[in-house]
């Protein structure tokens, strides 16, 4: 298989406009004859379903929550980037493009990133038109802030609830199309298989999570916008129902999975408090604009923070990276926190935390201003930890937050399965080995509002798509496949809890495939994961029946998929014997301990082809070519 990214010809800045002109259009009267399935109603899925509905397509939209408004995107706090240059501080499309390629440590596809930067400006306009209440200045214009890794203020925000407000904007547009009957909404449905007819994606199999029924849906094209796979680590900042299931089942049907080892660890989360913990809570990185990160200079210093004098504190980010200071990118901030703790200078009971201190900011701009900027975050912190962050520095520690890897897509967002398009966090395309803050919301909405409406039209207009109904044998085969897996889960009747096994998987992933990876740890993970998978299939207990609402069954299905997927993630990490972005191989570092890339051998996208569970997948490489931004060693000194 050769991977063709279908990057349009021409100068970087003109590629997308030219491509838009070159693509075929679907005649307005014909649009309603095409059915498009959109799985997922996060920013990517909701914006896609709404826009496709507005264009006149017949859209079927699916999500696992009880309402499309509850997709995981709702939890995003900090903001969304756009190259508006409203602040006159030197921003431009090119700079956003440049920052994103550099921030991704030169492992993303330039043409996709440029398009993302280009349409970013339209996203803000669209959201404002929908009534998204972005923060404003006194003059009535939109306010911006700077966000991790950027030296310009290009981040738009709605208090600490940007994801919520953007998602509600997209959700409302989606519900408007539901009202207009161009979109049919199917909530509480979980996609469990992709249906291929003549090699093309022509439908999906879902489980109705209320009745347990296995349902079949046919279409002319399928879009997956099912989010990331961070919960393979068990503890993460993702919502507890986030999963890899839809993407993984599509992978098993032939969609290549790209760069699964590119996972992002967010530096500012509330530390783990015990075994019972079900998720980790993010403290938005915008806090690093005003908070200063430090640990005691002395190892094992157990004094409370206010007793440690200034000169005995190590503001290590400011010390090591004078020009970026506390605003270094996430991977750098996370790794440094880990180093400080490994060095015995971590704080809090577990020693697995560093301080994020607002004392100086409160002195400088006052508690009221801090409260206005971050009030809800401070409140959330206090609720969870029972400590007042206005008085005592926050304790923070890195946690899994985002996954850059995902299903491989070409420039048109189509996977290696014709007709299967992948949007948002579920695809791999724009963030390389590390995502910059406030860029995931941008990408989700770019894909849904401004890319897929064009590219899917081209696919539909240029592909012969004979009518297919759910009576086709392929639907029966896929539905039987789903049913068998469900029966198998219920039949194990062992004695181990699903959560217990998931937690154990998470521990393997965090210890061996986490912030610092080595040949040894990855090899160990690759022997531990299949063993745990075997244990699961021999000894898991999944009570209840298949034919009604059964949360144990849902959860078990997701964990079963993770137990297969985790192996691919670890293998990808093992095979990439370089450090880049969030992927840190201890064997590959600079004398100062920074990630050391190996462009000569690893400047490619690793796209894996499924060959069976427990069988080594086949690696395909998409070479990365940098015409505009020349790879250099990232430096934030």
């Amino acid at each position: 298989m050769t991977l063709d990214a279908k990057i349009p010809a021409g100068p970087m800045a003109e590629k997308w406009d030219r491509h838009k002109f070159d693509m075929k259009l679907v005649n307005p009267a014909n649009k309603r004859k095409f059915t498009i399935i959109v799985v997922g109603t996060g920013l990517a899925g909701a914006s896609a379903a709404a826009s496709l509905g507005e264009l006149g397509y017949n859209v079927l939209s699916f999500c696992i929550q009880d309402s499309p408004r509850r997709a995981h995107s709702i939890a995003a706090q900090g903001g969304i980037n756009a190259a508006k240059n409203y602040q006159n501080d030197g921003d431009s499309i090119y700079r956003l493009f440049y920052d994103t390629v550099k921030g991704g440590d030169y492992r993303s596809r330039e043409a996709n990133v440029h398009r993302l930067a280009q349409v970013s400006v339209n996203i803000i306009d669209q959201c404002v038109a929908q009534g998204v209440p972005f923060a404003r200045e006194y003059g009535g214009l939109l306010d911006n802030r700077s966000f991790g890794g950027a030296q310009v203020s290009r981040t738009f925000y709605a208090r600490g609830q940007t994801g919520q407000q953007l998602l509600l904007g997209a959700y409302q547009s989606l519900m408007r199309q539901v009202h207009e009957k161009s979109v049919k909404m199917f909530a509480r449905r979980e996609m469990l298989d992709l249906v291929l007819v003549d090699g093309k994606a022509r439908g999906i199999i879902v489980r109705n999570l209320v009745t347990g029924e296995i349902e079949k849906y046919a279409a002319d094209a399928v879009c997956l916008a099912t989010g990331g796979y961070g919960t393979v680590y068990y503890l993460s900042t993702n919502a507890v129902n986030s999963n890899v299931t839809a993407a993984w089942r599509a992978h098993k049907r032939g969609a290549l999975f790209a760069n699964p080892c590119f996972t992002q660890i967010h530096p500012t989360c509330i530390p783990v408090s015990g075994d019972h913990q079900s998720k980790l809570t993010l403290m938005s990185e915008s806090l690093r604009n005003d908070g200063r990160v430090w640990v005691p200079k002395k190892q094992g210093d157990t004094r409370s923070p206010e007793q440690i004098p200034e000169e005995e504190r190590d503001y290590y980010l400011e010390r090591k990276y004078p020009s970026f200071g506390n605003l270094v990118p996430r991977d750098v901030a996370s790794r440094n926190a880990k180093q400080a703790c490994d060095d015995g200078r971590g704080v809090g009971e577990s020693g697995l935390a560093v301080y994020l201190d607002f004392k100086d900011a409160i002195k400088r701009i006052g508690q009221d201003v801090i409260k206005e900027k971050y009030g809800n975050l401070f409140q959330m912190y206090e609720k969870i930890t029972d400590e007042n962050p206005y008085e005592k520095p926050m304790r923070i520690y890195p946690a899994i937050h985002y996954t850059m890897g995902g299903l491989w897509v070409d420039y048109n967002l189509m996977s290696t399965v014709p007709g299967l398009h992948v949007l948002g966090e579920a695809n791999f395309s724009d963030h390389g080995a590390n995502r910059l803050g406030a860029s995931a919301l941008m990408q989700g909405l770019a894909d849904g509002y401004f890319v897929i409406p064009y590219t899917i039209g081209h696919y539909l207009a240029s592909t012969p798509l004979p009518k297919v109904t759910t009576d086709h044998d392929a639907f029966k085969e896929a539905a039987d496949n789903v049913q068998q897996r469900i029966n198998a889960l219920l039949a194990v009747k062992g004695g181990r809890g699903i959560r217990e096994i998931h937690r154990e998987l998470g521990r393997i992933m965090w210890d061996d495939v986490g912030m610092a990876r080595t040949e040894e740890s990855l090899t160990r993970a690759l022997s531990r994961i299949p063993k745990l998978r075997e244990e699961f299939w021999h000894d898991v207990s999944v009570p209840g029946s298949p034919d009604n609402l059964n949360q144990s069954l849902e959860y078990a299905g997701r964990v079963a998929d993770y137990l297969e997927f985790a192996e691919l993630l670890a293998l990808d990490a093992l095979e990439r014997r370089e450090s880049c972005g969030g992927h840190f191989r201890e064997e590959s570092q600079t004398p100062e301990g920074e990630a050391l890339r190996d462009d000569e051998h690893y400047s490619y996208v690793a796209a894996w082809e499924f060959q069976g569970v427990g069988t080594r997948p086949t690696l395909h490489k998409e070479a990365l070519v940098f015409d505009e931004v020349h790879p250099t060693q990232r430096s934030y000194k």
Partner: protein, 248 residues
């Protein structure tokens, strides 16, 4: 810590439900309420018994999925807090805690503690938006909006759609939920064009769904995890009256 739990179990929408006793042992004060239930469920699962069905997702107070009535109060005893953010340090050793689903005609129980809130989606579908298609929007800064107005709109827009307001109201009214969206869009210039149509359609839909009317009890405001004030309802009522008069 050890707690005695009385939890509503109901096999399906048409089955009869009842409170069943459980004991939660070795509860730590750092646990969230839902993590305490996770532990109870994990024990049930290991014994091959069906777990207690309850809804949750983000577990940080923003998605609006979690929805438990604890000792008679939607989302439990803490003000401005969803149940996923409620922590066990709020409870005493040996305490008895009753856990029930949202109860309202328009929110039928699906199983145990899970209810069907799709009526809220249909209310939004009836008009809770600005009708703009994607593409062609003018520059974001072309409409200046004063900071005060933007902040007030944001105050209302914070609603997470959890339905606690309905669960707390003796009339099972959806007024606080509706009024939050109506206020947000009535305050902003973008919402002006459809202002009247919006309030009429949304209220009509709420009536059709079987939500009750508002008799100013204020229970909704007291349980709202985002502390959305009932002044929103007053604003909605004015909008409604104006719209009805204009329609005549």
């Amino acid at each position: 810590m050890r707690l005695n739990l009385k939890i509503w179990r109901q096999a399906g929408p048409n089955a009869a439900g009842r409170l069943v006793d459980y004991v939660a042992d070795s509860v730590s004060t750092d646990m969230s309420f839902l993590e305490m239930l996770d532990v109870v469920n994990e024990d049930l699962t290991k014994k091959g018994e069906e777990s207690i069905a309850f809804d949750s997702d983000c577990r940080e107070g923003i998605c609006g999925t979690c929805s438990l009535v604890i000792n008679g109060i939607p989302h439990g005893p803490d003000r401005g807090t969803t149940v996923c953010q409620l922590h066990m340090r709020r409870f005493k050793d040996g305490e008895t805690v009753t856990i029930e689903p949202w109860r309202a005609r328009a929110f039928p129980v699906l199983k145990d503690l899970i209810v069907d809130r799709s009526a809220f989606d249909r209310i939004i579908a009836a008009g809770g938006y600005v009708s703009v298609n994607c593409g062609g929007a003018q520059d974001g800064n072309a409409i200046p909006i004063s900071k005060d107005i933007a902040d007030a709109a944001m105050d209302s827009a914070q609603c997470i759609g959890c339905g606690a307001c309905v669960a707390a109201c003796k009339n099972a009214s959806a007024h606080l939920f509706m009024s939050a969206k109506i206020s947000q869009l009535a305050l902003l210039p973008q919402g002006q064009v459809e202002r009247q149509r919006r309030v009429l359609s949304m209220i009509e839909q709420a009536d059709a769904e079987g939500f009750g009317s508002c008799s100013n009890e204020g229970e909704c405001e007291a349980v709202c995890p985002k502390e959305i004030p009932i002044s929103n309802i007053a604003l909605m009522t004015r909008e409604y009256v104006k719209a009805v008069l204009a329609a005549k």
